[in-house]
Amino acid sequence: MSKHQQRAQDHGNRWPKSAADLLLCRRLEEELGMYEAIIASSDDAIVSKTLDGIITSWNFAAESLFGYTAQEAIGQSILLIIPAELHGEEEQILRKLCQGMRIQHYETVRLRKNGSRVEVSLSIFPIKDRAGTILGAAKIARDITIRKQEEQARFHLAALVESAESPILSKTLEGIITSWNRAAEQTYGYSAQEAVGQSITLIFPPDRLNEFVTIMERIRQGERVSLYETERRRKDGTLLPVSVLISPICNSKGQIIGASSIAHDISERKRIQAQEHFLIQVSDLLASSLDYQETLANVAHLVVPQLADWFAVDLVDTSGHFDLIELAHTDPEQVHWARTLRERHPIDPDAPLGAARVVRRSQAELYREIPDELLVAVARNEEELAMLRQIGYSSAMLVPMVARGKTFGVITFVATASGKHYDERDLVLAEEVGRRVGIALENARLYREVQQSRDQFDIILQGVADGIVVYAPDGSIIYANEAAAHMTDLASAQRMQATAPLDLIDQYELIDEQRRPFPRCQFPHQRVLAGEREAQAIIGYTRKGTGQPERWSLVKSRPVLGENGKVEMVISILHDITERMSLERRKDAFISMMSHELKTPITSLKGFTTIMQRRLSKEEDVQALHYLSRMNAQLDKLTRLISELLDISRMQSGKLALQTEPVDLDGLIEETVENVQAACSTHHLLIEGRTGVQVMGDRERLGQVFINLLNNAIKYSPGAQTVQVHLWQDGEQAIVSVQDFGMGIDKAHHEKIFERFYQVSGPEKSTSAGLGIGLSISHEIVARHQGRIWVESSRGKGATFFVALPSIQPESSNDQQATGETV
């Protein structure tokens, strides 16, 4: 027997058994069978129970929902499937049933056989007999777990949308707003209540209404309108830059019924972009010129009104004094007024607030709000307070300008009429502007300094009488002063700089001191460019075709070396020596003439004394002969003095000519000593040692040196009987010393006695009379032989003069002997 048949029997057993009853019974049974079939096939779990809560029926759906079979469940208490904490709930349900109430869609939780819980929606109906007595209850339970999950997901989604930081809204295809999240409320200023039901054009700026048409057209075609940047209008009318994403919304049938729209507030990004753009503009302006006044004015035009209504730049000097160098105001009329304010109330370097403190601390200051109390606090008197109030401060920023670790100024940004209130972000921007302006001002200052010192140098250089020409490493002229232009007979220094150096040179006839053509490669600046550390030359020049008399310049060149040691430029100084050259020529001619004129009578005198000597020798007049020899000696002395005068003049003009040949030094000394001894009866001249070498030199000139030294030795040791000559070799040098035993020379004079016309003054002055040029000539001659002359002496101890000359190497001396004249 099936369960149903069993149940039918159970029912049937309780039913009365009259004929009418039987008929009714049959009808009822038929009905019952139909109901049972319906119940059995229902997807909902259907359970009946007595008022005591005993389960009386349990369909298939109940079996699968709760896990118990009908056999297991029927006869059990309904508490079987009710969680312990909900047992009270069952009592309430029963109570309501007893009162004849129905319970519909009651959502609760039931227990499965395996202990898991299942969310169900219950509908409970009372089961009544014909008399209406409630016999029990039928429960229809529906598993609502999935529905619940879906609901939860929807709830999460809604919560997500609601809590999203970006404005999210939905609208119909007609553009009617259907949802509006909290972020939308905050962003656009309309509440959900105000917005829902309105057209989306509510938040479109008037000039962007056509955008709406385009968007909706695309949405209707199922397109997604991806992130694009636009603007939306807030309730307060302000515009907001946004990036929006609009997607179509479809119903379950896939029909497009509206659109969702997510917007991102990009005002911060836009602001940063604008700041960057602003800073780039500032930097471009600052870099455009080194004229700081012009640049600052340009920057001021940028800052006002973009960033401030009032922009001021102050420099601070070392004493703390503020110097207002730039002031801009949105209202040009206010500029004058603001200047007046600053003149009448200069910034106090010790003020506790504001610019003074910014300088002291080298730290920016932000005054978001400027309440009246602050004005009262900073004003030093009533008048200043009144003026400050008149400004109508709304907000202010002060940033320092720093260079090389030192604050040298303050930039002030003030908001007045715009009603702007600066925040930290504005301060960051202002600080950056301050930093850039600071660098630019410092650069401009350095440039100005360089320029000034250059201008000063130029004034100095233009003022000097010497020509100054500066050459670049390629030989081109990068600077020339007016004197240089004048000396080279050019119209101006500019003209000189503008002409190519070779073309310039081609305009002149150039000669050297010997009047030979001056080779280009010998120009001092060319020699320096070729590596010499210093070069000079005497150059004579005439501008071709002018027929002007030649001019002479002493040109000295020196390099200016870079850090890497390379020649960066060459400075040539042109010293006009035309006068000197002509004077020198005249002097040379004069001395030449004079010595000739003096020597001619001496020649005659000497000739006639010789004749007389011969006559007197025949007459054997010894005394007269003695007088004649004295005359002769004096004539020789006179001759020597005249020669020295000629020599010194030649030395000065560098024309002391040497006839060089290998000279046997020992032989030369012997001969010289012999000759001097012949004319000297007071002293014995002694030679000691030998050099054994030859030196390269002018035999006569070297002889002149030793004659001079020997004569001096005799002259300055009147009380002594000997003069000692030593000869030796020291390495590659041959050394000759001449020692006297006379008065000696004080150390102070050791160097100076070799100078021209220098005379040792002292009590013995009378004994040292002379032109004071002998040693000077000796010094020159020795120097011209690459030798050295010096004295060792102390007062009262005699003096020793040394001459060191480079000796010829044996092999080269052989060559010289083979080819040149021998001694």
Binding site: S592, S595, H596, E597, L598, K599, T600, P601, I602, T603, S604, L605, K606, G607, F608, T610, I611, R614, L635, T639, S643, L646, R650, K655, A657
Partner: protein
């Protein structure tokens, strides 16, 4: 002495005193001496024949002795005559030799040195 007597010396200088003492001394030494203060080449000939030696100052009034020497030395019949030049300017030695002078003496000169040089040149 007899040998020397046959030697004829021409002395050219623009200073009469110098010409005079040189004539005295050279004659005492046994030379035949002719003196000139200056002059053209033809006038330098000694009695229409050539001297054995010429003593000449470099600077002559209105004339450069070196030019005279050059022309002497450039002519066949005179170029073998030794020329001894003197000058008060020692640096003239170079140019004198370049012009063709056989020897040079700086003024004022030692008479003994002059006589030695003359004797050497006439050998």
């Amino acid at each position: 002495m007899m040998q020397r007597a046959s030697k004829r010396i021409l002395v050219v200088d623009d200073e009469p005193d110098i010409l005079e003492f040189l004539r005295i001394i050279l004659q005492e030494e046994g030379y035949e001496v002719e003196t000139r203060e200056a002059g053209c080449l033809e006038e330098l000939w000694y009695n229409r024949s050539l001297p054995d030696l010429i003593l000449m100052d470099i600077l002559l009034s209105g004339q450069d002795g070196r030019e005279l020497v050059k022309s002497l030395k450039s002519q066949q019949e005179t170029k073998q005559i030794p020329v001894l030049m003197f000058s008060a300017n020692p640096s003239a030695q170079e140019t004198a030799r370049q012009a063709g002078a056989d020897d040079f003496l700086e003024k004022p000169f030692d008479i003994d040195v002059l006589l030695a040089k003359i004797a050497q040149s006439l050998q």
